[in-house]
Symmetry: C2
């Protein structure tokens, strides 16, 4: 590499570092808004966030970045750069090309409208009043559609919707997703029928036994420690705070998760902490030397979900984990679970049942919730349905796919925050995460002998190391399709996930 | 007003709004750093804060502001503007003139060095090691000195130190402060002697009786409610969090205070909540229609301290307040204070004693702590003493003014965070706050009959309204000397404060 090439590259990284620093500041303001802020602070907070998004957009589209990109990518010695350099340049160029096409006013307007729409969603959900929510949702949808149409040109995707999917799952098209979702649906529907008609059914009433908040908090800390998300001491001192909708935020040295505690649904906080903890250990174990570089980010939302759902479901809902953890749970909850066996507990937490709420769905039906949303998003962006028709189409599809009758829009189309937050194209990542997690499990099974016995002994260290080395440390060096190939040697495939489910649930339900 | 003049004025206000919004975002990041952030997050946080200070400086010095100022101030119709318009323009011009003279690198370097110096101060204070702290303090002092010398030119103050004082207490010179501090000192020293030699002395051991953290938190919430800082419900939902050094932050709709809970010094959290609560109700009751305008800020740090010390001392350490509140305190602390009378309690919390630590000092000696610091700051900036000599001069003066012997620098020169935070010129505001509070009290006494009886009945509403109307709602419409004149009709005067103290302490100590 020549000096000039190195110099331009380093200048680009410095600019990226500034952009990342600004985004990390905005993430703290978002976290504070959800966890700490007095309600009245919302007006000032939306101004602060809109301002940071304006500044961020200005920084991301600075002509200086374009000039430096030209100097590096067209440099005669470009080919002498290594994989990391080239990936960084690719990601910087991708972001620059996309951001420069988005008008600043559209970016700022979207940021403002997001804050308004989320606020209205909270109120409308509480009062089951979609009509109140609709006008704000329509405004936000129109803004996202404008962005999608612009990004479609830059990204050269088949549809505007594909351009949004690419934000969360780069290099994945809705066509490719449709194909794998078709297979996923077939597998899930078959399995759902088997579970629902099985003789053996779990007693889920044990999960409704009362457990006060305080022991739940202690259980949460134990779980966090188990997976290696340090909440008790030390420099990293990750946080667990309370929000209605659990989430993870942060980057490298400052990662934070949230959960909720329901006294009559103690399992809810257990699995939300395992889920968010799976996200958290991904962020905490990115490669330190790549911090602030594009390559130092996580790979995609799908891979993020693969990690959260791996920890929540493949580990956290396994017989082995509860062999180890049930005694501790019994102790911390007093006498409330003393008569419960591991078998009964594990079956109860893996109860398969058609239901209305995605975040509470079991592993088998979860994918069907996602597929409904994916199809609706495609239809919305293809103008086949309107925001106005959304509730009725939602209810129809829930009846068709899951056989449930939606009573009101709060348990229907308004259950998720995503559309109110402008996150269109995000949902497929959840199901892709499940699919990746199945492939990762199959791969780990061949490489890590005896890992199930370790979990049963309460040791997560080896599994965590495997995830660290095979997923986390790769950061954003590869696109999702490349990463799954790099790790497993195979293309995206639904089979391992369906095999895992069949194997697990045939044992639980004895079919 | 012509259209052009209105348009330029509105554009200026819009720019000010953006600057204020950015500062309010930085304030949340500072608050999070002190209350919530995992320790490891400090590196990323200092990058975020340095970046916001760089952006803030760029925004404050945009040539566009200079151009708009010219257009408005030199406009033929300028004289047709009202008081609020003119004050806004004056404050925008003052900030612009000052900020544009400060080089961006000096601003950013100072922001970085502040984070480093505070961090080092914390470590050095814990290990009582001034030598460790000294090099970083010297660097920060040099940067502040550079700024002071630049600002002295713009502000046309008599000394560089005066230019720093003007940041916290506009229109106050160190010469004027010296004059009032001389009188203050005379009054305080005389009173101190009377208290120390009085026959009747309080039993302060009752304040060392153990009270666990949980009842202290409940007491704190009651106190906050009493003064009208709503922490329990409602939209404003102000916060009370825990930090070693209590502070208040925020603006209008999002104001937050912190406190600390010591199980063997329960009075500490009581008075820090009243003190910070006094700051908080100032910020929460600024004029809503002036939000984001320069005129919508608080008047000065001195006036801020007048409010915090009014609530903490004049109300919170009064016989009337404890007539009302002691029964509640007894109830919440179990049996621990059941034998204590109002008289004994009020005398104990008003114990006058020469001491080493400013933040724990009583009303009489407090001013002496401040005068020591004010004199040292003057000498530092006049090169009469060096940072190196600071500890020995500190110890000498504490012996001379307060008759105490400092054992180590942690209870000496390193006790306060101000110099480590680059806050030179801030200390005088504390004593000025006391002086203002005396004048406000004298004025309120003539205007608000029976207010003491109301406090004894647990009603703070009328006093709060008086403070709202006479202090808070004026925002930054007047400079401190103008504001005290506007409210009381009198110039700055030490007498009312000394009279208040004499009256109060002659009753308590029976001299």
């Amino acid at each position: 590499m020549t000096k000039a090439l190195i110099s331009s590259y380093k200048q680009l990284l410095e600019k990226t570092k500034n952009i990342t620093t600004l985004h990390s500041a905005a993430a703290i303001l978002h976290w504070d808004m959800e966890t700490m802020m007095p309600p009245k602070g919302i007006k000032m907070r939306s101004l602060q966030l809109a301002m940071l998004s304006r500044i961020g957009h200005k920084m991301s589209t600075a002509p200086e970045i374009g000039r430096l990109l030209q100097e590096t990518i067209n440099h005669p010695d470009y080919s002498s750069l290594d994989l990391v350099h080239k990936r960084n340049l690719y990601l910087i160029k991708k972001s620059y090309d996309e951001q420069t096409k988005l008008p600043e006013e559209l970016v700022v307007e979207t940021s403002k409208q997001q804050a308004i729409t989320i606020n209205m969603w909270k109120k409308a959900k509480a009062t089951k009043d979609f009509a109140k929510f609709k006008p704000e949702l329509e405004k936000l949808f129109e803004l996202k559609k404008q962005a999608a149409e612009i990004l479609m040109q830059v990204k050269e995707t088949a549809t505007p919707y594909d351009a949004l999917v690419d934000i969360f799952e780069p290099k994945m098209s809705s066509e490719a997703i449709s194909k794998v979702f078709k297979k996923l649906r077939e597998g899930l529907v078959l399995l759902l029928k088997k579970c629902e008609t099985a003789q053996k059914q779990p007693d889920t009433s044990i999960l409704e036994r009362p457990v006060p908040v305080e022991p739940q908090q202690k259980i949460g800390k134990l779980l966090a420690e188990f997976i290696g998300y340090d909440v008790t001491s030390g420099e990293s001192g990750g946080r667990i705070d309370e929000t209605e909708h659990p989430f993870t935020t942060g980057y490298y040295d400052d990662v934070r998760i949230t959960t909720h505690y329901y006294p009559h649904r103690f399992a809810s906080s257990i699995f939300s902490i395992l889920h968010e903890g799976g996200h958290a250990i991904y962020e905490q174990n990115l490669k330190p030397e790549w911090m602030f570089q594009p390559v130092g980010d996580a790979c995609s939302m799908g891979f993020h979900e693969s990690q959260s759902r791996f920890v929540e479901n493949i580990i956290g809902r396994s017989h082995e984990f509860w062999t180890y953890f049930l005694p501790a749970l019994k102790k911390l909850t007093g006498n409330v679970l003393s008569d419960v066996t591991v078998d009964d507990f594990v079956h109860a937490i893996n109860h398969v049942q058609s239901s209305k709420i995605r975040v509470e769905a079991d592993e088998v039906t979860y994918g069907l919730h996602v597929i409904i949303r994916f199809n609706l998003e495609q239809d919305l962006f293809a103008d086949k349905i309107s925001i106005d028709e959304l509730p009725q189409v939602w209810n129809k599809n829930y009846n068709k796919y899951l056989g449930v009758t939606i009573k009101d829009d709060s348990e229907g189309v308004m259950q998720d925050t995503h559309w109110a937050s402008g996150l269109y194209g995000y949902f497929p990542s959840y199901a892709l995460g499940n699919i990746y997690s199945g492939q990762l499990l199959a791969c780990m099974d061949t490489q890590l002998q005896g890992w199930r016995d370790q979990i049963a002994r309460g040791e997560f260290g080896t599994v965590k190391q495997w995830l660290n080395g095979n997923v986390h440390r790769h950061g954003n060096l590869y696109s999702p399709p490349e990463l799954i190939k790099t790790i497993t040697g195979k293309e995206l495939s639904v089979k391992p996930f369906i095999d895992y489910l069949n194997n697990k649930y045939s044992q639980l339900y004895q079919f």
